[in-house]
Symmetry: C2
Subunit: 343 residues, 2 copies
């Protein structure tokens, strides 16, 4: 199985991207990768590749799409960019199962939409990261920002896609689906939330368990949380911000807390390392762009080799488990059932 890697996207590209790919090749001997980007820069990072070179292709691309570029325009115009060439390679190379990029989120989404295409029936593909939970399992949040405005049917699609993804990714059968809302009662929320609740309640093939308040997202009571992209984005970034704030306040407390605090922190080092590991939502890899014909993984912009490696292995795993085909099947069934009802 081959995974296409945008070697130029992300804050630490190309070095950390290439090193992550090398780690992934070490971890999985059935993996091959195509690294897309400036050939010279990539080669400079491959000095210690050794035997792994036999499982590496380099696809030369001289341009880079940055966060400052307009996503849609840059996909159209920057034909020699690493992202566009990587997406083209994903479509033309039959062996390629998926793509990983740590570049501009907007450009990755626009590129995947335009070049790889939507699964038939999915009008709004959605971005789904896996968040850590208190119980250590993980919860899929869908959508976390691809679609600022949504209709109720989009949220039904998110639930179907994220459930299939959760099963493929975390091995959870019939994951419990919650709807992000401002209260647990059925009548709560915006008109969108209320209509989505009704729709989800009547959607077969998912395990909808009701509303999920934002404070319970990481409780472990849900394995899938659906939200419009605006609300999902606010929730995701709030969680991230609060976790960082708590850890930074603890750090400040240790620095200003004298010898006693410093000794305590030293003793607690393994605990903090475990906490950091448990709360690190990049450990599972990147966010998957669900509803696209092939596996597209958006790795965090600040990804270093460890999370790039995780994203590549994640992409291979999802491609092998045929998650896109599963989503296609389920979305088709949903469309048929709802058409049947209309008749």
């Amino acid at each position: 199985m081959k995974i296409i890697v945008d070697a130029m996207g992300g804050d630490y590209a190309p070095e950390q991207i290439v090193l992550g790919a090398l780690d992934a090749l070490d971890a999985d001997e059935n993996l091959t990768v195509t690294l897309v980007g400036r050939q010279k820069d990539i080669e400079a990072c491959l000095k210690d590749a050794g035997d792994r070179m036999s499982r590496i292709d380099i696809l030369d691309a001289n341009d880079v799409i940055t966060n400052d570029d307009n996503p849609t325009m840059s996909i159209k115009l920057k034909k020699d960019s690493s992202l566009v060439k990587a997406l083209d390679a994903l479509m033309s190379d039959e062996e390629a199962g998926g793509i990983v990029s740590a570049g501009s989120t907007g450009a990755v989404l626009a590129g995947a939409f335009m070049k790889v295409g939507r699964i038939k029936g999915v009008s709004r593909p959605a971005l789904a990261p896996v968040l850590p939970t208190e119980k250590g399992s993980g919860v899929v949040l869908c959508d976390c920002g691809a679609n600022v405005e949504c209709k109720p049917v989009n949220l039904a699609h998110f639930a179907i896609m994220a459930s299939a993804y959760c099963t493929a990714m975390l091995g959870i059968d019939e994951p419990r689906v919650g709807l992000l809302n401002n209260g647990v009662e059925e009548h709560k929320g915006t008109p969108l939330a209320r209509e989505a609740f009704e729709l989800l309640k009547n959607t077969s093939g998912i395990n909808f368990v009701g509303n999920c308040e934002a404070r319970d997202m990481l409780s472990g009571e849900f394995e899938v949380i659906v939200a419009d992209g605006w609300s999902g984005n606010i929730a995701l970034k709030s969680l991230e911000g609060a976790a960082n704030t708590v850890l930074s306040v603890i750090k400040d407390g240790v620095y200003s807390g004298g010898l006693r605090a410093k000794l305590g922190a030293l003793f607690m080092k393994p605990v903090f390392a475990k906490v950091k590991k448990k709360m690190d939502y990049n450990a599972h890899g990147g966010a998957c762009f669900l509803g696209i014909n092939k596996v597209v993984i958006k790795s965090h912009g600040a990804s270093k080799r460890k999370s790039v490696c995780a994203s590549i292995l994640q992409a291979k795993d999802l491609a092998e488990r045929k998650v896109c085909e599963d989503i296609k099947r389920k979305i088709t069934r949903y469309a048929e059932e709802n058409k049947a009802e209309e008749v």
Copy 2:
């Protein structure tokens, strides 16, 4: 200055409410309180009141509004409830500067709206808690849930009201106002967010500094954050949930981490106490319901004596600083300016 206290609202009523009121009387000798609720139950908590009894009135009310009651209906129908009687007392007693309740949020908002009334020009009063920040100052979030759906002009009002509140509450002149959004760039977000951005940019008398991503809410770069009530609620609860999750994961790590971790935790106890104190958003008191003719403080449902005491002192402080009058003046000015522009 007298503060009216709903002694029956909240998970720990009446005991913790009454004890909180006694603490507040200790802290401020110019304070008097009216405790509203079942006289017998309240008196049972006042055994150790001593001299403070001279500054306590009890207003008998035999009914209680619970979280299960429909907010608007219960305000209309439960005329003998502690909340309704407390609101009536606030309006009829000239000495009364404000009210504190830890009861049902919906009922407190509905009751304040119906009984105390809106400030002229404010169509949507909004609930504003003070959140802790990394730098330890505090940030006012407005709205955190009173108005699920908003128009741009509501957000302009929130900015004006929360700025006045921030100055009265935290002593910050010209607080920096951020608009909760899914990116810092001007064109980001929903149509509401984009229109609100335009409006805030052109609103005189506030110090609007741009969009605030949810992850930066606690950074200390903003003293006021405005949002529609839906988004503000999701952000607030996400922050709360994540902070709790991090602390609970640390606790688990200590429990399962053997002697070394336990020793470390023991040494770090003062640090954790400081963190808890710093992150405790009830330390400032409760959330203020802005845009209402008198000071209305909604204390957290789980409030114990400490946060009830803080809420009562907060209510007195805000009433003395005439925050409602200040808001009234500024909203009137805003209305005049915008009317003038239309001509």
